[in-house]
């Protein structure tokens, strides 16, 4: 406190000296100045209503605003607008252009901003200007280190008199504090305290550059959430989605925490122990935001809530631990938005209209980087922002990219929620380029399949007279021949079955003639089949690659022949016996031996067929 007051006194000294030597600027006079300073959060908001009168004889086109340099360093946002309403109705118009100027012969340690009036102020006329300024890091925590049980007290310093290069006729100042608990404040005459509001003034007839330092020491339990770096990536996909990923590095910007942190005390009596801790952050996302995730390096953080309605989506996130002074954390938030809410067309160009800064409520950002990733094939990229930012272009290589996607990078320091305005990125994109990605995938798969087809059907043998090729061909011929042999043998067996069936019929009906007829047809068939068999056997004998299978085939043929003979003999014996009308038992005895042999042969034939089948 001592050093702060000391410096302010020095500044006052400078100003009084400067006062004596300051020139009289153009003949503007501020007839009424009403200032309101809101200290209700960590961000200091300042509004001033200036009534400017032109008491000179020339048209004045600019008005100078002055801020002490220390304050100007913390200035994040400044707008001035003309207030056109009369009396109680105040209507604000567009913001006026503001420039930083440094006019000559001015007192040091003061920053000047020049506001250009649209129509100029005629002599004798008066104008009402609304000035809105936002300051960050303007509240100094004092004491600088507190324990968990202490309350957080901060100091705010300003001047009771409006610092201006023009004389002020009537002015007043009102300071709004977050709570009714004020530790101390500078008391001038005309100072009144109403609850949590301090009123200084009204003061009358003060010359230009009058400055009276005041300091207010008060309790503020507002969360001093300060993001040291925020990286916001906006990726556009023409298939219907805008994906936003935000990385935050947060620090608690209030009084540093000393001593220990007792979770038990914090949970049991949160308002007494740890009232100034950051417990949660609220982000206001656009409506129809989907797939919201909140995670950090380690994994998903489950302490979050999401509410959505038709106007906005609200996300409340709690960091992994409550943040006390000086503590840091880092996390990532991501969400998707429907494309049609943000991408529009005008004059052959498409443009993206989206908010620039983080959606978090009351967050002070020291460095904000916004990256807009446009789809590959975008050309003629231009950006229009409501206030100056540093910008450059990069390339990002992502899914199915050949060259990479163009990225527009915007950077700004000292960002407050008032900066969260809409900005536009214009680019040209050929509609046909949209087909590039699906065509790439389709053609990739297509060529893969064609290659497989070609590979399986192509004959990639080097020459048609190579030994293995010929051998394969011969083997195939042998196999075909064997198959034919098998079918012949099967037909022989079928004929045997017919003969057996005829025998059964005979036992049932006693019709010998039919049996004999069946015998005759069977005979004929068998003869034909053996005729067919001969050339096949000859071929097999001649072909060299059938050498290992040939013995089996010959065996099979021989066995089948034997079987044939036995069946024939059995048949004839039975028929003879029937003709001679001998007893059943007799018949059986006679054919018993034959029958045994027949069944054994049948079995062997079957085995051989199976064996040949398997080769």
């Amino acid at each position: 406190m001592e050093t702060e007051m000391g410096f302010s006194r020095f500044a006052l000294f400078l100003f009084t000296i400067a006062l004596l030597s300051s020139p009289v600027l153009s003949d503007l006079v501020l007839s009424k100045v009403d200032r309101r300073i809101y200290l209700t959060s960590q961000i200091v908001r300042y509004t001033a209503t200036l009534r400017v009168e032109n008491e000179g004889s020339e048209l004045v086109s600019e008005v100078l605003l002055a801020f002490p340099e220390l304050q100007a360093k913390n200035l994040a946002y400044l707008t001035v607008s003309v207030n056109e309403g009369k009396g109680k109705q105040k209507v604000s118009t567009d913001d006026l252009p503001i420039e930083v100027v440094s006019p000559k012969n001015m007192p040091p340690a003061v920053s000047f901003y020049s506001v250009t009036l649209p129509k100029g102020l005629a002599p004798g006329d008066s104008l009402t200007l609304d000035v809105m300024a936002v300051f960050t890091h303007a509240l100094q925590p004092f004491p600088e280190k507190i324990t968990q049980a202490d309350i957080q007290l901060v100091v705010f310093q300003d001047s009771a008199y409006y610092l201006s290069p023009y004389a002020v006729k009537v002015q007043s100042l009102s300071v709004k504090l977050p709570e009714a608990r004020i530790e101390s404040y500078t008391k001038l005459e005309n100072t009144k305290v109403h609850g949590s509001e301090i009123k200084y003034g009204p003061h009358e007839d003060l010359p230009a550059f009058s400055y009276s330092p005041i300091g207010i020491h008060f309790e503020s339990n507002q969360p001093f959430s300060n993001a040291q770096e925020v990286e916001r990536e906006i990726e556009i996909s023409h298939w219907g989605n805008v994906q936003i990923t935000e990385h935050y590095k947060l620090i608690h910007g209030g009084a540093q925490s000393k001593g220990e942190f007792s979770r038990l005390d914090f949970q049991a009596r949160p308002n007494v122990r740890g009232a100034s801790a950051i417990r949660y952050l609220v982000a206001t996302l656009p409506p129809r935001a989907h797939s919201v995730y909140y995670r950090d390096e380690i994994g998903n953080i489950s302490t979050s809530h999401l509410w959505s309605d038709s106007k906005k989506t609200e996300l409340l996130i709690e960091p992994r631990y409550p943040m006390f002074g000086g503590w840091r954390t880092a996390f990532t938030i991501g969400y998707g938005l429907p494309l049609q809410d943000f991408l529009f067309q005008s004059e052959g160009k498409r443009f993206l209209n989206i908010t620039l800064s983080s959606p978090m409520v009351e967050l002070v950002i020291d460095k904000l980087i916004v990256k807009v990733v446009l789809p590959e094939g975008s050309k003629d990229i231009s950006v229009s922002t409501p206030f100056p930012v540093k910008q450059w272009q990069e390339t990002k290589i992502s899914h199915l990219d050949i060259d990479g996607r163009p990225v527009v990078v915007l950077e700004k320091t000292n960002v407050v929620p008032e900066h969260n305005k809409y900005f536009q990125v214009y680019y040209k994109f050929n509609k046909l380029s949209m087909l590039r990605e699906p065509l790439m995938l389709i053609s990739g798969f297509f060529f893969l399949f064609v290659a497989c087809i070609v590979y399986t059907r192509a004959d990639i043998s080097i020459s048609k007279s190579s030994a293995s090729y010929l051998a394969k061909q011969q083997w195939e011929e042998v196999q075909a021949a064997i198959q034919q042999v098998e079918s012949i043998i099967n037909r022989c067996l079928a004929t045997h079955d017919k003969l057996e069936a005829s025998l059964r019929d005979l036992s049932r009906t006693g019709d010998v003639q039919a049996c004999k007829a069946a015998r005759k047809t069977a005979d004929g068939l068998l003869k034909d089949l053996s005729k067919e068999l001969k050339p096949l056997l000859a071929f097999l004998q001649s072909s060299p690659s059938a050498s290992q299978i040939l013995p089996k085939v010959e065996d099979l043929v021989a066995k089948e022949k034997e079987l044939q003979e036995r069946v024939m003999t059995k048949h004839s014996t039975v028929v003879d016996a029937y003709e001679r009308k001998s007893a059943g038992k007799d018949i059986e005895n006679r054919v018993a031996l034959q029958q045994q042999k027949i069944t054994a042969l049948k079995q062997e034939v079957d085995d051989l067929m199976e064996y040949i089948d398997e080769i």
Binding site: I298, R320, R328, T329, S507, Q595, Q596
Partner: protein, 364 residues
């Protein structure tokens, strides 16, 4: 060189064999000499319920499988029997070796179940009304089984008919059937096969299927609840839904963001790997419990009064000490629960830490 090595190995009483594997043969070895091995809960002998929890229904199918392996006893089946017997012994010594028992139990109970299904399905198949007969089948592939089944189920229908018919038609037919019989009997594989009554076998089949279904349900549940619960995020179900305790990750995130990169963290060895991975800080001891003396140093520091502990931690250049306390939410396996093991392990290397000093009644 080789001789020196052999001499060294031969000179120790257990021929150079020590540690976890020796505690398999002598379960008391670890608790006497190396308390850190004894402190790991997976090295304790299992309780009887843990067998049922892990292998469930297989516990009584395994003996059936062993019996099934003995008939016939081949090389493969005797290997399986030896495998199950040794794995049952070793899993009884150390519960972690239940992993070794599991495949053997699965194999044997698979054998038992398949034999059971074989018998039951066969019984049903032979007693089905539409079972095809062998009256038109060649002698070559007639089923010896069907012949026997017909002998055993005389009360059924058409399948019985041809056998009855045959003796009566012997005089008309030319003895083919009789010739068939001797050839049938001449076949090498003729077994007496068991067939149970139809109703009982259907019921038994359904019950076995139901048993297997319950086994599947239990296995899925055990895998989901008992073996998949991550111990880093704890959940509890209260009257207002699921409550998640993410305290471990909160502590590691705090360490990661709010301490210097070269600050060292001392904790019990259970949290070593997690601290290294998530908090990205150097730890003194971690889950690779390789250096017993180092762990004993940390254990001694945890069990000493503040001044002595401060000196030990100072000598280890420790900035932060991580201790887990579960009293506020009722978490049972916190550092207070493990405290006696810290005492035992520390006392194993530093004799001034004596376990009875930390117990109220020394005979506990």
């Amino acid at each position: 060189m080789m001789a020196v090595l052999i001499a060294l190995v031969a000179s120790s009483p257990t021929k150079g064999w020590s540690g976890r594997s020796l505690s398999l043969l002598d379960p008391t070895y670890a608790s006497k000499y190396i308390p850190i091995i004894a402190s790991v809960s997976e090295h304790q002998p299992p309780t009887w319920p843990s067998y049922f929890m892990d292998i469930n229904v297989l516990a009584f199918l395994v003996p059936a499988g062993i019996i099934a392996c003995f008939s016939p006893l081949s090389d493969a089946s005797s290997f399986v029997v030896l495998y199950i017997v040794t794995s049952v012994y070793f899993s009884g010594v150390m519960v972690r070796l239940m992993l070794v028992l599991a495949p053997a139990a699965c194999i044997l109970s698979g054998i038992a179940l398949s034999q059971a299904f074989d018998v039951l399905a066969r019984s049903i198949k032979f007693q089905l009304p539409g079972f095809p007969t062998n009256s038109e089948v060649d002698a070559g592939d007639s089923n010896p089984i069907t012949v026997e089944a017909k002998n055993n189920a005389p009360k059924t229908d058409k399948t019985g008919e041809p056998s009855k018919d045959r003796p009566s038609r012997k005089n008309k037919k030319k003895g083919k059937e009789q010739a068939e019989r001797p050839s049938v009997k001449g076949k090498p594989e003729k077994k007496r096969l068991l067939v149970l009554p139809m109703g009982a076998s259907i019921l038994a089949l359904l019950l076995l299927v139901l048993l297997s279904a319950f086994y599947v349900v239990h296995s899925v549940w055990a895998a989901a609840e008992a073996y998949s619960a991550p111990s880093i995020v704890l959940t509890s179900y209260s009257h207002d839904g699921l409550h998640v305790f993410d305290d471990f990750r909160e502590a590691y995130a705090w360490l990661s963001h709010n301490t210097d990169v070269d600050h060292k963290v001392a904790s019990w060895w259970d949290y070593g790997y997690q601290t290294t991975a998530m908090a990205n800080r150097t730890v003194i001891v971690d889950n690779n419990t390789w250096n017993n003396t180092h762990i004993a140093t940390v254990g001694t520091a945890m069990s000493s009064p503040e001044k002595a502990a401060w000196e030990i931690f100072n000598s280890l250049d420790v900035k932060y000490v991580l201790v887990v306390f579960g009293g506020l939410v009722g978490y049972p396996s916190d550092d207070i629960n493990k405290f006696l093991w810290m005492v035992r392990i520390g006392g194993g290397v530093f004799p001034h830490i004596k376990e009875p000093d930390y117990l109220v009644n020394s005979f506990l």
